[in-house]
Symmetry: C2
Subunit: 447 residues, 2 copies
């Protein structure tokens, strides 16, 4: 059986066992769930929300197809009346969320779903699966952008991304955070992200003559050739490019760039820049790749390595130093009553909440408030209505606008959050109203 990314089957079994219990008990009052992150990973000063567009698409299209229901039926786990109720399952609820590209902090809800209980519960697994991953990647990619704000960064991560969807969504999330493009062809086609491609070492190795490999490639890609020059000897490779350029120029072909993928990138880039410049190729750009992350970018930038663009792969796409966030999708209100989980070490704030952000006179973020939804505070409210009654409140936001929002968010970061190192935490306060409600709920529960 094939599974589309929108399939209603993309869920944990327990969502269905719970739905069946709600069905049997006739329970389907309005529920509010909020998605938030409990704590920052050790290597992060902030997080960046992403994935909302995919979440809304999933909610809009949610429905069980006949063949999916018959697959469920064949498991023998679910009685027919319950399965029949699933035929009619649609998402008819409300969504409030932070715009994609918004910077956020622990305990702040980034997404709230308010809907009849069975709908709001059912969507938990896939909503988290989508929003968590893109947020993980955008939060990592944003650090790369902060480390090299004036450079072209290109996602190179398909091969070691965790499956196909991870490759597509990490291309999108990194583009949201400020990357300039991706090597992943279908991400370019699906999301209209600029695509970049050069050549592999195998291409060069297939020729017995490296210079011939370069020439054939440039003739095949006359407007777009970036030549990988480190298969055997990087400086010799650069010299071959210099020798080749006038030959190609006679046929109107310009070499766009060279790529370095190994060794000491800063030292190699300096030597190659010199060779290219001495050969009259100062317009040829240098593209570097090879297990890069924000720390290596910072070092290369600080050392003024003459590198124009970076291919950033695995460590960004897998967010290798923090490949997951401690996020949760928790029931905060059911049937008009605020709810609170009190499991050891996992207590959550009850009730529908709002987040307000204060900004200093210089445009820099000055602190956030987490309040009850009905409280009002100065500052900008970060959660916005994005879906009402199962319908979007507005058309999908163009990816370019999301990028611009993300860029403004990064510009507004305080210095303590802008650094790659871990500095003072950002001030997030919880309102007295929310604290008071939590206290009352705990008392009400008794011992």
């Amino acid at each position: 059986m094939k599974l589309s990314p929108d399939s209603a089957l993309l869920t944990d079994l327990y969502e269905l066992t719970m739905l069946q219990a709600y069905f049997d008990a006739g329970m389907n009052e309005t529920a509010s769930f909020e998605l938030f992150v409990r704590a920052l990973p050790l290597q992060r000063n902030f997080m960046m929300a992403a994935g909302l567009e995919q979440v809304l698409g999933y909610l809009e299209r949610l429905r069980f197809m006949p063949d999916e229901l018959s697959a469920l039926s064949k498991t023998g786990r679910f009685p027919t009346p319950f399965l029949r109720s699933l035929e009619h399952l649609r998402f008819t609820g409300d969504v409030d969320a932070m715009a994609e590209g918004t910077v956020f902090f622990p305990d702040e809800p980034i997404l709230r779903i308010t809907a009849p209980m069975r709908e709001a519960q059912f969507v938990e697994s896939r909503v988290m699966n989508l929003a968590h991953f893109e947020t993980v990647v955008a939060s990592k990619a944003a650090r790369c952008v902060l480390a090299a704000p004036d450079k072209l960064l290109v996602d190179f991560g398909l091969r070691r991304a965790h499956g196909a969807e991870a490759a597509l969504l990490s291309a999108r999330a990194s583009y949201v955070a400020g990357f300039g493009g991706t090597a992943t062809l279908p991400a370019g086609l699906m999301f209209d992200i600029p695509i970049y491609g050069t050549m592999a070492h195998s291409y060069v190795q297939a020729y017995t003559d490296e210079a011939l490999a370069f020439e054939q490639f440039a003739r095949s890609q006359p407007e777009n050739a970036t030549l990988l020059i480190d298969t055997y000897d990087t400086e010799a490779g650069a010299r071959k490019v210099v020798a080749l350029a006038p030959l190609l120029a006679r046929d109107g072909i310009t070499i766009h760039g060279v790529r370095l993928d190994s060794g000491d990138l800063a030292a190699n880039a300096r030597r190659v820049r010199q060779i290219l410049d001495d050969g009259g190729l100062s317009a040829v750009s240098i593209f570097a790749s090879g297990n890069l992350d924000e720390y290596q970018l910072r070092q290369l930038i600080a050392g003024q390595a003459p590198i124009d663009a970076f291919g950033i792969g695995t460590r960004m796409n897998t967010s290798s130093d923090a490949p997951y966030l401690d996020c949760a999708y928790k029931l905060v209100d059911y049937a008009g009553e605020a709810r609170r989980k009190r499991s050891e070490g996992k207590t959550t704030w009850p009730a529908r909440k709002a987040v307000y952000r204060l900004t200093g006179p210089n445009g820099v973020m000055a602190g956030d408030w987490i309040t009850l939804d009905r409280e009002r505070r100065d500052g900008e409210p970060l959660l916005e209505p994005v879906m009402r009654g199962g319908n979007r409140c507005a058309s999908p936001i163009p990816l370019q606008s999301i990028r611009e929002h993300a860029w403004r968010q990064l510009r507004a970061l305080p210095n303590a959050q802008r650094t790659l190192d871990i500095d003072e935490p950002y001030p997030v306060a919880v309102s007295d109203g929310l604290r008071e409600l939590a206290r009352r709920l705990d008392e009400g529960r008794g011992g």
Copy 2:
């Protein structure tokens, strides 16, 4: 545009730019590429191969669909004659590979593709994307199995897996490595893996009375109820189960288990076990979950915590301490000549290779040889022909057989590899024949 997991578009742009250059140059001699891992992550003593079935499925079904070619055409990057050649692209080559579930070590090829250059080159991105990820997860899950060999381990990771395909493939890879099932419903349906499901805290929170939540759930799942008892107070939750059991028993309903998801799992399990046993419920099992990995499993097992089954999620599915492997898919032979990449720090072994494994009299793995393909050595050859001329050499191996092979592999591990801590490396030797060839190729290249 929708993208199927088999789509030929699931590739890096550079595979197509290289294919175009090969097309323009008329190059399409036979090429051999090998997939291997350069080094073990710091937290691994061995790796476990997985994902071959998905790779073979991809190769079998490889073809560009008309709408995909028209999407490519619209990019304006590719001339029509080349696009037309892609209409006929199929995989017609050979694959030799280690069986899924086989333990392997750095520099050992786990997969070799021999095919006309354009086919062998083109499939690089997706073949790596599939084989790398499942191998990452199987290698992590195998450590969990070694830490708790007699316990039921269940994959709980959909929500924080990196997208939908990661959830499906990590369910499969962990089952290969010895997990007993998954909570991810579609993985159960697609791969015939046992599925497990309990309830979320939100289910309990939706009721004003925890005992009523338990009762309704058990009545809804009379053969299969596992009750989550830590939403408010774990011991109180256990006592409610004891009070409820005789009531349900009158209606022929048995409570299968309870789940703990927070706090000190060992201490909580001991207290809950006592309460259940005192209440005559010694048949009710205890299921534990909550950010578990192999280290916590080891500790819980060493402390003889009375836990029968574990839900293992995020840290396994993302392989959080080593979310990627330094793997490569390298050209080793083209047009009958061995090839070698010599980039700084990334030199690879040339030529088509074989791997032989020696086993001691006690059945324990004693050491591996990496040799030229044509050399013969004592021991078991680990690479087997699995595809010839684009056709599988045998039907897909049932997942149960793969699991049994993996289990035998884990049983044959030397103690130094069996421990979770990093001990002596496993002995892997490179044959003189291979060393000699590498030396000759380097000399041939000159300076």
